[in-house]
């Protein structure tokens, strides 16, 4: 395989930006949707009434990661065809599990005595949820979101296969034409996106975490 520095720079500066933007969308949109699905569902599963459904629901979310993303996109092909929509769909399903699992773990990890004290003081279940349980589980939840971001970012490369655009297009071009510059440029940008998003999330995490839990 060949590698030329000039081509590499061109790939980085010229070809990448539009794809990078698409890629960003392929990461942020699924993540957002996955969050507003997985987070509330997981929270509900920790409520007394719904605990019995936990295994079944989590098994469902797990399927999102057991089935290869490529296959998920493919299965929905008759409905959604090729293009951005199936890609977003598949990536959203893929992003569900880490968020759900960590939210569950985070909420379960809230010390029993804290909840006991809150109830004793007269907090309603809702108040306790929003003022005590969710804030205290934030670090673990955010860790789950970060995992999802990294996984989605990497998987989004496959979006290009179904016409969804994204940096994957650059990488696949590199493979098809046997040009190392494209592969490496594409990889670096995807990695950069993942790392930047990860840092951003850490910042948000810091802001949302109650002071005593900051490490």
């Amino acid at each position: 395989m060949e590698f030329e520095m000039e081509r590499f720079i061109t790939a980085l500066v010229d070809r990448s930006p539009p794809h990078a933007l698409e890629h960003l969308q392929l990461v942020l949109i699924p993540l957002f949707i996955a969050f507003i699905i997985a987070f509330p569902v997981a929270v509900i599963l920790t409520r007394q009434r719904f605990i019995k459904y936990t295994d079944r629901v989590m098994a469902f979310f797990s399927m999102g990661q057991t089935i290869p993303p490529l296959a998920v996109i493919a299965i929905f092909f008759p409905f959604l065809g090729l293009g951005r929509t199936p890609a977003l769909f598949a990536l959203t399903i893929y992003a569900l599990l880490p968020i759900a699992r960590n939210t569950l773990a985070g909420l379960k990890g809230v010390p029993r005595d804290v909840k006991e004290a809150a109830r004793g003081m007269g907090m309603s279940e809702w108040e306790m949820l929003f003022r005590v349980e969710i804030p205290l589980s934030m670090p673990v939840v955010m860790a789950g979101v970060k995992i999802s971001v990294v996984l989605t970012s990497g998987t989004a490369a496959l979006g290009a296969l179904v016409g969804g655009g994204g940096m994957g297009a650059v990488i696949f071009a590199g493979i098809d034409f046997f040009r190392a510059e494209l592969i490496i440029a594409g990889t670096l940008i995807i990695a950069a996106i993942a790392i930047i998003l990860d840092r951003l999330l850490s910042l948000i995490d810091n802001m949302l975490t109650p002071p005593h839990m900051k490490m």
């Binding site: 290869p68 496959l158 493979i175």
Partner: protein
């Protein structure tokens, strides 16, 4: 009833058409299905064979030498930021490897590192101190402690890691078709290129079924191998 439904809604009829079409496809191309499935399994098995030997050893090593642990986990995390297709792509640029199985296998072994090493580490660390102290106090040698206490107690967590790894590798292996592997991912790959719904769906369903089956089987084994004395919550990641 199908007649009624398809009579009423063209879209629904289309749906059934698409979905049932893939069954015909699989029957038609049965030889290929078998070939690709076997390749898929052989790849996964090869990868798991080397991964088990390699990463369990590494995991045991870093659980003893903490300083290495940070490096190991750092490397693992970096890998996950790189999309699988890139890793495959980079491997084929290496002169000695090129297209084909070796590159695919090596890349997959690399991916297997994170879940395996992490679970071995966590598993070993999960053994509480008094038990090891008692073992030492009774005169067990370091090797005896490792094999009679630490590994048996860590095994459920380690096995959970193996299960996750197998499923993950099966999934990523589909992408390896882009660098020449001939496994079930190829149906998806070619299906997309030729816009053949049957092929895509056939590939997708076959891979999904195998992934779910493996996960299920390993899950069953996982619950069998836990000594009744260990009432632990296992991590699945």
């Amino acid at each position: 009833m199908i007649g009624l439904l398809s009579g009423n809604s063209g879209w629904l009829a289309n749906f059934y058409d698409q979905y049932l079409g893939f069954i015909a496809f699989i029957i038609r191309r049965w030889d290929q299905v078998v070939e690709y499935t076997l390749n898929h399994f052989s790849l996964v098995l090869t990868v798991m064979f080397f991964s088990l030997i390699l990463w369990i050893s590494v995991g045991l090593l870093i659980s003893r030498y903490e300083k290495l642990a940070n490096t190991a986990f750092g490397l693992g995390n970096i890998l996950f930021v790189i999309p699988s297709i890139s890793v495959f792509g980079i491997f084929i640029t290496i002169p000695m490897l090129g297209l084909g199985r070796t590159s695919a296998a090596l890349a997959l072994i690399l991916y297997a590192m994170m879940p395996m090493v992490r679970n071995v580490y966590r598993g070993i660390k999960s053994v509480e101190w008094p038990i090891i102290e008692a073992g030492r106090g009774m005169g067990m040698s370091a090797r005896q402690i490792l094999f009679q206490i630490q590994i048996p107690m860590a095994w459920p967590i380690i096995f959970a890691g193996i299960r996750v790894t197998v499923v993950m590798i099966t999934g990523i292996a589909t992408v390896a078709t882009y660098i020449g592997e001939r496994n079930l991912g190829r149906f998806i790959h070619h299906g997309i290129a030729r816009e053949s719904a049957d092929m895509i769906i056939a590939g997708a369903i076959l891979v999904s079924v195998i992934a779910i089956l493996l996960d299920y089987l390993l899950g069953k084994i996982e619950s069998r191998i836990t000594s009744p004395g260990l009432l632990r919550e296992q991590d699945h990641n």
